[in-house]
């Protein structure tokens, strides 16, 4: 017996709660923005100084780095969102949600959408800063496509974070597992370097990493540089998102209090 109207209201409530909490803690937003900016400014300038302009796919290194940094922001911010599930477990807030007469999938989607919205706000700020300070050109189409790619990636990574949060019992355990997951996903995605001239072993690993396709899609949309082509990028990204949502829902339904 599924009452669509009450499920939607519940979904809205859980999403709205995440948004309210996020807006009330400006430190979360500021912290989430500063790290990628440091990468762009310091790492981008530093490494960019030894790279000939135009050597990386015909753009300067900072611009080349920009899509990769957007992906990094999503990865680190959204996976970390899963930690809140563990913190909610420690007090009884999660029970308040779990006792609600709602479908477990609805609860999970509410959480995932809430986390994704937080991430999207960070990305929007970074895009504005990128346009102003790093010479990134956004057309309306670029903005729309960037949003689509980012939202898919956000939902996928938030779901993964929630899955880890549902299974793990301590924040320390969460930290350990997520670093095992996040650093390979990030470093092996081509976010920091072009994937065209890599040795075979590394290229293989990068090719199996689904995050590589998000980086490639963003680079294609924002800078017009692509290694895999947009159709393949989107196919992999959508599949990755669907699988992560399924994994997340599965883990959330088995949550132990």
């Amino acid at each position: 017996m599924l009452n669509i109207n009450s499920e939607l209201k519940g979904l809205y409530a859980i999403w709205y709660r995440e948004l309210l909490v996020f807006m009330r803690e400006p430190s979360r937003l500021i912290g989430a923005i500063i790290q990628p900016l440091l990468w762009l400014v310091i790492f981008g300038t530093g490494l960019g100084s030894i790279i000939e302009p135009g050597a990386v796919s015909g753009t300067n290194y900072q611009q080349f780095l920009f899509p990769g940094i957007l992906v990094m922001t999503v990865l680190f911010g959204s996976l970390f969102f899963g930690l809140y599930i563990i913190l909610d477990k420690r007090i009884d807030f999660l029970k308040e949600v779990l006792v609600a007469p709602l479908n477990k999938s609805t609860m999970f989607f509410g959480k995932a959408l809430g986390g994704s919205t937080d991430g999207l706000l960070q990305i929007i700020i970074l895009m504005i800063l990128g346009a102003i300070f790093f010479g990134i050109h956004f057309s309306l189409l670029t903005i729309i496509l960037t949003f689509v790619i980012i939202i898919l990636l956000l939902i996928a990574v938030t779901s993964l974070g929630l899955a880890i949060g549902s299974i793990m019992e301590s924040p320390e355990g969460f930290g350990l597992i997520s670093s095992f997951v996040i650093f390979p996903l990030f470093f092996l995605s081509g976010a920091l370097f072009p994937v065209t001239n890599l040795p075979t072993w590394l290229r293989v690993i990068v090719t199996i990493n689904p995050v590589s396709y998000a980086v490639d899609a963003l680079r294609s949309v924002i800078l017009g540089i692509t290694s895999y082509g947009l159709p393949l990028d989107f196919t992999v990204l959508i599949a990755f998102t669907v699988i992560m949502v399924m994994v997340g829902t599965w883990a959330f339904k088995r949550i132990k209090l």
């Binding site: 519940g10 809205y12 007090i91 807030f93 006792v99 479908n103």
Partner: protein
């Protein structure tokens, strides 16, 4: 038909049996207490009733719905006030209630009205727009009480509703719980390890120890089972033969200047007794408490470091307010 039927409910965690073959029936409109020490299985029982934990065996039917087969309908019938804080610090009291109303399916047209009523019931109307971070422990509990009731459930679970609150705040919260019960005819099931709390609030009490039901009765009957109140009178010339003739006096002892009596319902017979003790210098009445009941049934105190007086007897002198 009882509103809640628990049959042979059992929960095992690996080798540890938290709830052991528990059977209970709870009627509509009751305030029913699950009393037992920490770790007795009270919270585990409530969690199973609220569909948060699947039972290992046995079942429970709540408001006509089996907890294992129809969890959503069960969850629609209940409200839950948890032991630990479960409201959001960064949100205001009103926002917490609003989110609850949305999640628990309160009709849009009734949300504002219900929230106003709830806030009024727990006297938090003037604090509704303050973030919960600034609430005291007692205020937070009151808000969570109003929240548990917001969607008008038939049954309200209160898990250790006054744990960690100071005595004054605790008594204050009892008033709100009683008000909720009388004004709304809601069925309340609460767990507690505070004897006074069970005594003060509950119509019936199930004493639970090591996951098993030890005894089930009303607070009055439990205390009666101990055989009466203890009256201690300091006096020089009591009329012992006359006192021994009174049928409500169970036991008489006179040592030194002190007359000790065990009396059925001492409150109503004290006048008669005092007429026969001559000039009394001092009179003390000890009522047996649930603490004594628990001690008698399980052979131990409900918890270490009890704050309820020595030897399990709660001492009340004559001039203090009697219940």
């Amino acid at each position: 038909m009882p509103l809640i039927e628990i049959k042979n409910l059992t929960k095992k965690f690996d080798d540890f049996t938290a709830v052991d073959d528990l059977s209970l029936e709870i009627n509509e409109g009751e305030i029913f207490g699950l009393l037992g020490p920490n770790g007795a299985g009270k919270t585990t029982t409530l969690s199973m009733l609220a569909t948060l934990l699947p039972p290992t065996s046995g079942n429970a039917v709540i408001n006509g719905f089996d907890v294992a087969k129809h969890p959503t309908q069960v969850r629609r019938s209940i409200g839950f006030v948890f032991q630990d804080p479960s409201s959001d610090d960064l949100l205001t009291g009103r926002e917490n209630l609003y989110l609850h109303a949305l999640m628990y399916g309160v009709k849009d047209s009734e949300i504002d009205k219900k929230i106003d009523e709830g806030l009024k019931l727990v006297d938090l109307t003037d604090k509704q727009n303050i973030r919960m971070r600034k609430y005291s422990g007692g205020m937070r509990r009151r808000l969570e009480l109003a929240r548990g009731f917001l969607h008008s459930p038939k049954i309200l679970f209160l898990d250790e509703p006054t744990l960690g609150l100071d005595p004054q705040t605790r008594e204050n919260l009892w008033e709100y719980i009683k008000r909720l019960s009388t004004e709304n005819k809601i069925t309340i099931i609460l767990t507690t390890h505070y004897m006074e709390e069970a005594d003060e609030l509950c119509d019936r009490i199930a004493i639970i120890d090591h996951g098993k039901l030890v005894a089930l009765d009303t607070p009055v009957n439990f205390k009666k089972s101990l055989g009466g109140d203890l009256v201690t009178i300091k006096t020089k010339k009591p009329d012992l033969p006359e006192i021994q003739k009174m049928d409500y006096v169970k036991h008489v002892q006179y040592k030194g200047d002190v007359l000790s009596l065990t009396v059925n319902d001492a409150g109503s017979h004290l006048q008669k007794i005092l007429e026969n003790v001559g000039e009394a210098e001092n009179v003390e009445l000890h009522s047996p408490t649930l603490q004594d009941v628990f001690l008698k049934l399980t052979g131990r105190q409900i918890r270490e470091g009890s704050d309820e007086g020595e030897g399990g007897w709660m001492t009340r002198t004559m001039h203090s307010e009697s219940r």
